[in-house]
């Protein structure tokens, strides 16, 4: 039987702020347990939550970057349940009036509808060791934004590939907007996935199965494919999919039941009486909008239409924000966007792929590209220099001088030497005219280089040579 797959995503991202969501403790990782904590985030009696203004602004920013409407009134609710990582036995979250509503994100040709982004607090960390569980509340109270797609509206995310594209793009936008670092391995971005299958074309939705807190895009992809296959098999056999929450075991590559509908939690949401409803004016929204950087979608248009990069090259430059930022800086200094893009792709990204950390100044990059363009230096020397100054404070220009790599010969002199060589090797020139063998050209360039002790630009020599004999 053929099925329509409906995939819903709930994506959590830790906000980039100085302090936690409801107290002034530092929002940063610490190895020492319970060291970034206070009575509020440890849930001591008498402590009260105080909402972080910047966390609200960051949430609004995330919403605006994704084209959401921003509610003028935001309410915080308590989600009540017992678990040791939840210090107060409730999580402060948002239900009825989240900060952002009705957004969308383009995946392929589809505009995927998104229901909401709300602000909430993260839970602490549990470490299971021996016959004990250790509780650390350093992460407790860290501001999180939760985005929930609207699987009730068309179009849906239907495949694992689309889900991953959605997440990749979302991550890119959050990083661009500066709202979250979204470092996957640190768990700064996590997703819950729910999946249901229905007979192709059917209007009625199938039973939804949720998979909680899957870390890493690869695992998410696998978990989705696994779940689609699992449900398909049940339905093909004439069975019924049970409404449940499953957990993905990334080591085994399979999921198992966490809880079924019967013991579903009743979270008893109600407005947190310790907090006031937050008024967000249209002026506030405009002010925050003005702080948003250009988003990747817009940049891509610019790259392709104004800079004449290919779509593929634009995507490569846009994949990581620090690369994009550096690229934009370099283009600002030297407006040859295509040449700079080529350099980024062939030289800089190649090194990063090889495991290097991005550590090179825009000044050095621009000087090197420019020097090659102006034939002050040979391309190969420039590549060597790039490696030499990478990860140091050295100046490429200074080093080029020191190492005597500068082609400090004037064009006229180079032409003079070239003429001399052509005279001496008239027979070889004749041979080239007959055979058109490029090796002969290289030989002639080599002769000029020999005469100039390698200080001429090989590119320049080749150019001039071609002018002369073709």
């Amino acid at each position: 039987m053929v099925y329509d797959v409906v995939i819903g995503l709930e994506v959590h991202a830790e906000l980039k702020t100085q302090t936690k969501c409801f107290c002034s403790c530092k929002n940063e990782y610490s190895k020492v347990p319970n060291s970034n904590c206070c009575p509020v985030c440890v849930g001591l009696p008498g402590a009260l939550p105080i909402l972080n203004k910047y966390a609200v602004e960051q949430t609004i920013k995330a919403g605006l970057a994704l084209g959401f409407e921003i509610n003028n009134t935001a309410i915080f609710e308590r989600k009540n349940y017992f678990y040791p990582d939840l210090a107060k036995a409730y999580q402060i979250s948002q239900l009825e009036k989240p900060i952002c509503i009705n957004g969308h994100l383009r995946v392929g040709e589809k505009d995927i509808p998104i229901n909401r982004i709300h602000l909430e607090e993260d839970a602490g960390k549990l470490i299971h060791e021996g016959n004990q569980t250790f509780i650390d509340y350093n992460r407790g109270g860290v501001p999180l934004i939760e985005l929930v797609t609207d699987a009730l509206k068309e179009p849906h995310i239907e495949t694992a590939d689309e889900a991953i594209e959605f997440l990749t793009k979302l991550r890119q936008i959050y990083i661009y907007a500066g709202v979250s670092d979204c470092e996957l391995e640190k768990g700064q971005m996590r997703a819950d996935v729910n999946i249901s299958l229905k007979p192709k074309g059917s209007k009625e939705f199938g039973t939804k199965v949720e998979m909680k807190n899957i870390m890493g895009f690869k695992s998410i992809h696998k978990a989705i494919e696994y779940e689609i296959a699992r449900q398909k098999e049940i339905l093909d056999d004439g069975g019924e999919v049970e409404q449940e929450t499953r957990k993905w075991d990334f080591e085994k590559g399979e999921s198992y039941t966490l809880r079924t509908k019967e013991n579903a939690e009743d979270y008893r949401y109600f407005p947190d009486p310790d907090l006031l409803a937050v008024k967000i004016s249209n002026e506030d929204i405009e002010r925050i909008k003005s702080t948003l950087p250009i988003m990747p979608g817009e940049l891509k248009e610019k790259y392709v239409n104004e800079y004449n990069l290919s779509e593929n090259d634009a995507d490569i430059i846009l994949a990581e924000k620090e690369i994009t930022d550096l690229y934009n800086e370099c283009v600002k200094l030297y407006f040859q966007p295509k040449t700079v893009a080529n350099w980024f792709i062939t030289e800089i990204l190649a090194r990063i792929k090889g495991g290097a950390k991005l550590d090179i100044s825009k000044e050095n990059i621009v000087w090197l590209i420019k020097a090659v363009d102006e034939r002050k230096i040979q391309r190969n020397s420039a590549k060597d220099l790039l490696s030499f100054v990478w990860g140091t404070n050295l100046s490429a220009e200074e080093e080029a001088k020191k190492q005597g790599l500068l082609a400090d010969l004037s064009d006229d002199f180079v032409v003079e030497v070239l003429n001399k060589v052509l005279e001496e090797k008239a027979q070889v020139v004749e041979q080239y005219k007959r055979e058109q063998d490029p090796k002969i050209l290289n030989f002639l360039v080599g002769q000029v280089m020999k005469e100039t002790r390698g200080k001429a630009s090989a590119q320049l020599v080749m150019e001039k040579l071609k002018e002369k004999i073709e």
């Binding site: 347990p33 009134t73 250790f134 509780i135 006031l276």
Partner: protein, 91 residues
Amino acid sequence: MDKKEIKHLAELSKLEFTDEELESFDFEFEKLIELADIIKNANIDGERKLNMIDMNELREDNPKSGYSSEILLENAPDKKKGYFVVPRIVE
């Protein structure tokens, strides 16, 4: 209100009751709900008023140094190396 419902409430509340306690609870709860039910006579459909705060009056994002974990764990019934401790949780 049946026993099953009271047991469900006890589960939500993380409380245990003996059968005897449950018996007397049954009676008391009925009275309590009778009291609460008076609210159903209220003839309103309006929304509740909200106490508002302008977002610009919210706390600024300036970190303060926290408390020492020793103080925060002072009353913990079980602790080890700066952690709160419970018997291992099995999911």
